[in-house]
């Protein structure tokens, strides 16, 4: 038997435009989804999560999430979702937020709450409310909440978008560490070529509401196929991080 796959083939109109997403991906590692703003990257994630509905089918391993008239509602899909705007609940402390996800998880934890708190450096924030956190702190809590729901599939929607350059690098290495520890497959939406190369096991390119390219095996030379601009920003990022520029 081959390894489990994510199968997706949905298309239709939403938000006043047309979308068509079809792909088959192994359920492992990090799949980076890139594309210009407004290309439909977030909509792709929302379809997987069941937050948006386009006609078609979605299967994850043996489980059908959407097929014909079957539509598994979002709360029953066992996905973790890290929203671009974090969406922490204003009436809960960090501890309550994490407990909320832990209590409702349907599977035995891969990472315990204590381990997650340690890994994300949340210990000093536990008694604070969501409104008393910086952007980066909020995003780390949102990641913790998503991990503690013990998802089959972890979806990250531009988690570095609201951060400044320094914090973005920090967040990236954090996500890198996490994906190393978890064996949960990750789909990671970004429009940043640097993110793409650093994290990706494979890449999906989205443009104009459809998947235009799936690179299942990224080239051994991660810089191959990148534009001169992307190479430059990559080299600068490497230098800033104290690494040799490729």
């Amino acid at each position: 038997m081959s390894a489990a796959h994510l199968d997706m083939d949905v298309s239709g109109d939403a938000y006043g435009r047309r979308f068509a997403f079809a792909c088959r991906l192994p359920l492992s590692g990090v799949t980076v989804i890139t594309g210009p703003s407004g290309a439909g990257k977030s909509t792709l994630l929302r379809c997987l999560a069941g937050l948006s509905r386009l006609p078609g089918r979605i299967r994850v391993g043996e489980e059908a999430w959407q097929e014909g008239r079957l539509f598994v509602p979002p709360h029953a899909r066992e996905v973790g979702f890290v929203f671009q705007d974090t969406r922490l609940w204003p009436h809960m402390t960090v501890r309550e937020t994490l407990n909320y996800a832990t209590r409702r998880a349907r599977r035995t934890p891969r990472l315990s709450e204590t381990e997650t708190i340690g890994l994300l450096g949340l210990a000093p924030l536990l008694d604070r409310g969501a409104t008393q956190l910086s952007g980066g702190e909020q995003q780390r809590v949102a990641i913790g909440r998503a991990i503690l729901s013990q998802p089959l599939l972890l979806l990250l929607d531009e988690p570095t978008a609201g951060l400044d350059r320094a914090h973005r690098g920090e967040m990236l290495s954090l996500i890198g560490r996490l994906t190393g520890v978890l064996d949960t497959p990750v789909l990671y939406v970004t429009h940043d070529a640097v993110d793409a190369v650093r994290l990706a096991d494979r890449r999906i390119e989205v443009a104009d509401g459809r998947i235009i390219n799936v690179s299942l095996d990224l080239p051994a030379d991660p810089l191959e196929g990148l534009s001169a601009d992307a190479r430059d920003s990559l080299a600068r990022a490497a230098l800033a991080a104290g690494l040799p520029p490729a």
Partner: protein
């Protein structure tokens, strides 16, 4: 006079409790639904705001009369008329104060949008779970201001009570009607006391609402 105050407090408390329960699903559907029905229901709910209370009282009186289409199904339970009863007064108050409960809740549910509920769904919370653990606590200040508004508005209603209550001492005689009687019979000392009490109470209630409202908007956003 104390009897009238007691009846009024009982009426206002019961109306408030019932209305918050009724207004919750209504406000939720109005905030989240779409289409023509939402506007039709929205307009119906707001109707008591613009109708003269006497018109509302007139229809309620017709509905509460023995043998009316409203009362016919209730006759099986031994209830033949609600006119001039405390229960009828409660029902009338619930309808009369409906917009004061629905509007603050609807505003709160609209302001919070889908985002916190989608986040709850992504933490495996089903719709009902998410409503009670996320939407309700996020809207708690709006609930508080809805409760105060309904309570105060019920205390202050006059027209509907006059039409369907009949001012039966101990049952349907409430302070607003009592006030009218006191003035009519030139008992000005008692009238002064009751009037000043009501002014103070209403001012305190409105002050609370304004304070809650400001915080509610800040919290929900």
């Amino acid at each position: 006079m104390t009897e009238a105050i007691w009846t009024t407090l009982k009426l206002a408390t019961l109306t408030t409790v019932l209305l918050l329960a009724i207004a919750t699903p209504l406000a939720w559907r109005l905030a989240r639904g779409r289409g023509v029905w939402r506007d039709v229901v929205g307009a119906l709910v707001a109707l008591p705001l613009v109708l003269p209370p006497t018109v509302l009282g007139f229809y309620l009186l017709l509905g509460f009369a023995p043998g009316s289409p409203v009362m016919a199904p209730l006759a099986a339970f031994g209830v033949t008329s609600l006119a001039f009863t405390f229960e009828g007064l409660v029902l009338g108050s619930v309808i009369y104060s409906l917009p004061f409960a629905v509007q603050p809740l609807r505003n709160a549910f609209e302001a919070m949008g889908d985002a916190p509920l989608e986040a709850a769904a992504m933490s495996r919370a089903g719709p009902l779970d998410a409503f009670f653990t996320i939407a309700l606590p996020m809207a708690r200040r709006s609930y508080l201001s809805a409760a105060v508004l309904v309570f105060a508005h019920t205390v202050g209603e006059f027209g509907v009570v006059l039409m369907i209550g009949g001012a039966i001492p101990g049952r349907t005689d409430v302070v607003s009607v009592k006030m009218y009687e006191l003035v009519e019979s030139s008992r000005s000392a008692e009238a002064h006391l009751l009037a000043a009490g009501l002014v103070l109470f209403s001012f305190a209630a409105l002050l609370c609402v304004y304070i809650f409202d400001r915080r509610a908007v800040r919290e929900v956003r």
